[in-house]
Amino acid sequence: MVNFDNPKIIVKQLDFYYGEVQALFDISLQIPEKQVTALIGPSGCGKSTFLRMLNRMNDIIPGTHHQGKILIDNSEIYSDNTDVVQLRKSVGMVFQKSNPFPKSVYDNIAYGPRIHGITDKNVLNEIVEKSLQGAALWDEVKDRLDESAISLSGGQQQRLCIARALAVEPEIILMDEPASALDPKSTARIENLIGELRKEYTIVIVTHNMQQAARVSDMTAFFYEGNLIEHDQTQTIFTSPAIKQTEDYITGRFG
């Protein structure tokens, strides 16, 4: 297990179950602050399930339960007095399929700040602009803020979803295969954006695409059948993995 001086997220001996079916087995992992951690592995290996543990999105699936600990900034996020609203505010999420609300571009970004009580028009305008700039989308949409978000292209929609997540000022951003439905050009833009965002945010990204993991991440964790097989510097994982299974997956022998 790789340890850090000042980890943002600490996961200790995490087991997770969908009803009777165990999906995660004894996962222990530390995620460093302001770096990109990639979770890789074949379909059904538990990487998305693990990601959704970090902002408690699995709570909404009936019949799930877990054991173990997840600490963010050294406080347990599954304790009885955790404020899930505050947690999700500080741990933003971007989904595999871009899912803008059927509202205007502006209202999409302003949605988060508004539900957290911001009503001042000037403040909202500022947040919208800042968030869109943060997601490298401002120049493309600044003249069409009132248009429906659905009218944007697929890549723009995904960056809009990133901007929407930024608008509530998170510290951590979870990304669940954010570029898997996009064309190569849009994918490249998202990857560049991740490179920018890592300066200010802690990013955890699930990806199917190993080249992508190699390109964007500092750390890589390889999951297989609900187990964390290996976790190390991305460079190490992709050049000299310690475990045979990791090497087989990286080199395309299975998965």
Binding site: G92, M93, F95, N99, Y111, R114, S148, A165, V168
Partner: protein
């Protein structure tokens, strides 16, 4: 028989079945027009624009349909005002909040309510509800527009609930997840994302419920008191267009002026429901464009 001929025959049969409704609508229009037509010459269409509906009299008959229209409009407005909150909020509860266990109880009851024959509802209104309305509001009679509207709302609520529920249910899970992931509570998500996304379906549901209300006959005939006068007081007796046709058509002399006037009432009713449908479609289209 070779397959091509068979295909063609099947196609014709299906087409025939599909066009039946067109044919029926045209026939109804022609029939209504034909029966109502002579009224235009004698006593003339201006006779309809009158505040009195007194079709049988020894002195002078009046065929003014204004009181019938106001009666229908008053009952419909009250019914819709009652129907919308119960129907829409009920649908939100059933679709988004109720546990599986609660749903298993709620849904069959809603379906039973939808299936109760209108004459039974009218009977219930006459015997149970109208005395309550009478004593509760200190009226001379419990047979009022309000009583009828209450029952009509009851009849339309299941329609509104089940269609709105479908609409709410079909809002993609991904919208809800996006909202929750931003730190919205469940209720904020329902109110700000799910319901707005389902709004076209909800509006369609309300329009359909309204159609049911305005076209319903038996209940209003039984409980609204059937006084053909212009009133906007919910606690007055009123007479609706549907009730007028149902009550008088059986006894009117075939082909008489009164008979023709009743056909004009039907034409106006048809026109109103048609207009309602067109508006509903327009609203739906506008929202779907977004």
């Amino acid at each position: 028989m070779n397959y091509r001929l068979r295909e063609r025959i099947i196609k014709r049969v299906l087409m025939g079945a599909a066009s039946t409704s067109i044919l029926v609508v045209i026939l109804i229009f022609l029939f209504l027009g034909k029966e109502a037509f002579p009224f235009i010459y004698e006593p003339g269409l201006s006779g309809l624009w009158n505040k009195r509906w007194i079709p049988v009299s020894f002195i002078q008959e009046f065929y003014g349909i204004i009181p019938l229209i106001t009666g229908s409009v008053l009952v419909t407005i009250i019914a819709v005002v009652i129907m919308i909150p119960f129907g829409v909020l009920g649908a939100i509860y059933v679709a988004e909040i109720a546990t599986a266990w609660e749903k298993n109880i709620l849904k069959p009851f809603i379906e039973i309510l939808a299936g109760i024959p209108s004459v039974v509802i009218g009977f219930f209104g006459l015997v149970v509800l109208s005395p309550v309305v009478k004593s509760l509001f200190g009226l001379n009679t419990g047979l009022t527009a309000f009583t009828g509207a209450l029952l009509l709302a009851l009849m339309a609520i299941p329609t509104v609930i089940s269609i709105s529920e479908d609409a709410i249910h079909s809002v993609p899970q991904s919208f809800k997840e996006a909202s929750l992931a931003l730190g919205a509570s469940r209720l904020q998500t329902i109110w700000r994302v799910t319901v707005p996304a389902a709004l076209p379906g909800i509006i369609a549901a309300i329009m359909l419920g309204m159609g049911r209300v305005i076209g319903e006959t038996m209940v209003v005939l039984m409980v609204t008191g059937n006084a053909a006068k212009i009133s906007w007081n919910p606690f007055d007796s009123v007479r609706t267009m549907t009730a007028t046709i149902a009550a008088e058509m059986g006894e009117v002399a075939f082909g008489s002026t009164h008979y023709q006037a009743l056909f004009w009432v039907a034409i106006v009713l048809l026109f109103i429901t048609f207009l309602l449908n067109v508006v509903a479609q327009k609203v739906l289209k506008k929202y779907q464009m977004r």
